[in-house]
């Protein structure tokens, strides 16, 4: 029987060496979401022990299409560490099989802790919304992930790039439009509602779910609320840009 610690060590090694591993669920098809969060906690602890810190959180599997594909009705989450937050220039060799997706990030002005956090309560804790791009990456070979694989693997986080413009919420985040361009061509569009119906609902779900682990979202943290479109493969030489109505642009380049 492989322990949560051994699984975390395998993922940690894959992240360090950039050599992906076989799906954890190949060896243990019965692995549950709870089992996987236990792995995630240990994987994150190893990175924190190296001197990193938690800057925020990300939600994954927030679209109905992704949830249907995974056979679930809830999103998943993972921590975003300080070392994963970048300005616009990234090195493709730091990733295994990167993809990019545009998201709305929410920045907290006050701590937020569940249970019982409503969408309105979540809105009151938010200082503003920020245009963001997430790089997702998988330590599992060929992205052959099941739910327990991606949860264990820090919800497949690669890195994040955020605009420096924090925009107060005096508009409906559900309706905020976004066009996503790869090397100058629009490859996808979306609106805020793609993230669990409303990015604020995504934040409330996260606060309530973290409460079960006795974790509070702290003032100053950000939350990546989920992709507004299907993820797009990227590699060295690619320029990626997301233009948001009301929030402005955010861009990254892969060298």
């Amino acid at each position: 029987m492989t322990t949560a610690q051994q699984r975390a060590e395998a993922l940690y090694a894959a992240r360090m060496t950039r050599v992906p591993i076989e799906p954890l669920t190949d060896a243990d098809p019965g692995m549950t979401a709870d089992d996987a969060y236990a792995v995630q906690t240990r994987f994150a602890s190893m990175l924190l022990a190296d001197g990193d810190s938690i800057s925020g959180y990300k939600l994954g599997l927030t679209s109905k299409a992704m949830q249907q594909m995974m056979g679930i009705s809830d999103p998943d989450f993972g921590p975003v560490l300080h070392s994963m937050v970048h300005d616009g220039d990234l090195d493709a060799s730091a990733f295994i099989q990167p993809k990019v997706e545009a998201e709305i990030a929410l920045v907290l002005d006050r701590p937020l802790k569940g249970p019982g956090v409503t969408t309105l309560a979540a809105a009151r804790a938010v200082g503003g919304a920020v245009a963001a791009i997430e790089v997702v990456d998988s330590r599992i070979a060929d992205w052959r992930i099941k739910l327990a694989d991606t949860i264990s693997d820090l919800a497949s986080i690669g890195g994040v790039v955020m605009s420096s413009r924090i925009v107060p919420l005096d508009f409906d985040l559900r309706l905020v439009g976004m066009t996503f361009s790869l090397n100058g061509s629009v490859v996808a569009t979306g609106a805020g509602a793609a993230a669990l119906g409303n990015p604020l609902t995504a934040l409330a779900w996260l606060a309530n779910t973290l409460a079960r682990h006795d974790v509070t979202l702290e003032e100053g943290m950000f939350v990546m609320t989920g992709s507004l479109h299907a993820a797009v493969d990227v590699g060295a030489g690619d320029a990626v840009r997301a233009d948001f109505d009301r929030l402005g642009p955010v861009a990254l380049r892969m060298a």
Binding site: K64, L175, G177, M178, T189, G190, A193, D243, D245
Partner: protein, 262 residues
């Protein structure tokens, strides 16, 4: 029979069959599958069918474009959009239910409608269209292909008036400084989210789609008069609708429009 006569018979014959499919609400199979005809001939068939409708008392009230997303063009293996015409027969007022018994296989899709205040013709570009656009409005286009299962070629769907079925346009707002390419759209069916998008899903910008349309019209010696209403193409995929269904398209900065199906 000379070639011109034969071509005119083809056009009138196919226009009559499409008109009959509309009247009897009976799907037919691909016309191009029987006998190949060009897209240009397809527009002749569309014109002939429309002339019949107008002779029957209908009035043209709007234009509509189709295949304005790269995804749909790739799916059809074409690199061009298409257009058709909407008459008062297709028009629903906001709040008016769609009688599904009128249609064969309706599908709904959200659009940003443009209303012009100047004539447009010739080699126009996006900015000419924006300068001529007075207002924009939330809209729902209801497709109703006369071809069974929406199985058709480009020439088929052009001949079939771009699958025109019905449409509803909500409250217009001045275009002002709205960047239509970034306007967000949320499309719901029976209260469930079925798609999100931004205006750029329509050929990069809805006004770019209208510019294409005007240039295309000028090839046939036509223009778009001031006061035209144009549905420039869907922002998301179309969803099937039937009795009891309701759909709502909500747009940032523009407002929303809904439709229920009886």
């Amino acid at each position: 029979m000379d070639e011109q006569q034969s071509s005119s018979d083809l056009v009138e014959g196919l226009a009559a069959r499409l008109a009959e499919a509309v009247e009897t609400r009976t799907a037919i199979s691909s016309l191009a599958g029987e006998r190949e005809f060009t897209v240009d001939a397809a527009y002749d068939i569309q014109d002939a069918a429309l002339a019949r409708a107008v002779a029957g008392g209908e009035t043209i009230v709007a234009a509509k474009l189709g295949l304005t997303s790269r995804a749909k063009q790739e799916q059809m293996g074409v690199s061009e959009a298409l257009y058709g015409w909407l008459t008062d027969r297709h028009r629903l007022d906001p709040g008016q239910a769609l009688d599904s018994g009128r249609l064969i296989q309706p599908r709904a899709e959200p659009e940003i409608a443009l209303i012009t205040s100047r004539d447009l013709e010739g080699p126009v570009g996006l900015h000419d269209v924006l300068a001529a656009t007075e207002a924009v409005a939330p809209a729902l286009d209801i497709l109703d292909s006369r071809f069974a299962g929406y199985s058709f070629t480009l020439a088929d769907v052009v001949a079939d008036n771009c699958s025109a079925g019905a449409f509803v346009v909500g409250n217009p707002v001045p275009l002002g400084s709205i960047d239509l390419s970034l306007v967000g759209c949320v499309f719901e069916k029976n209260g469930e989210l079925v798609g999100t998008a931004a205006g750029a899903a329509v050929l990069g910008h809805p006004a770019a789609a209208v510019a294409w349309f005007v240039r295309k019209l000028s090839e046939r010696g036509k223009g778009l008069p001031a006061g035209s209403l144009i549905l420039p193409g869907a922002l998301t995929g179309a969803v099937p609708v039937g009795p009891g269904d309701s759909v709502v398209a909500s747009f940032d900065r523009i407002g929303s429009v809904g439709l229920s199906v009886a």
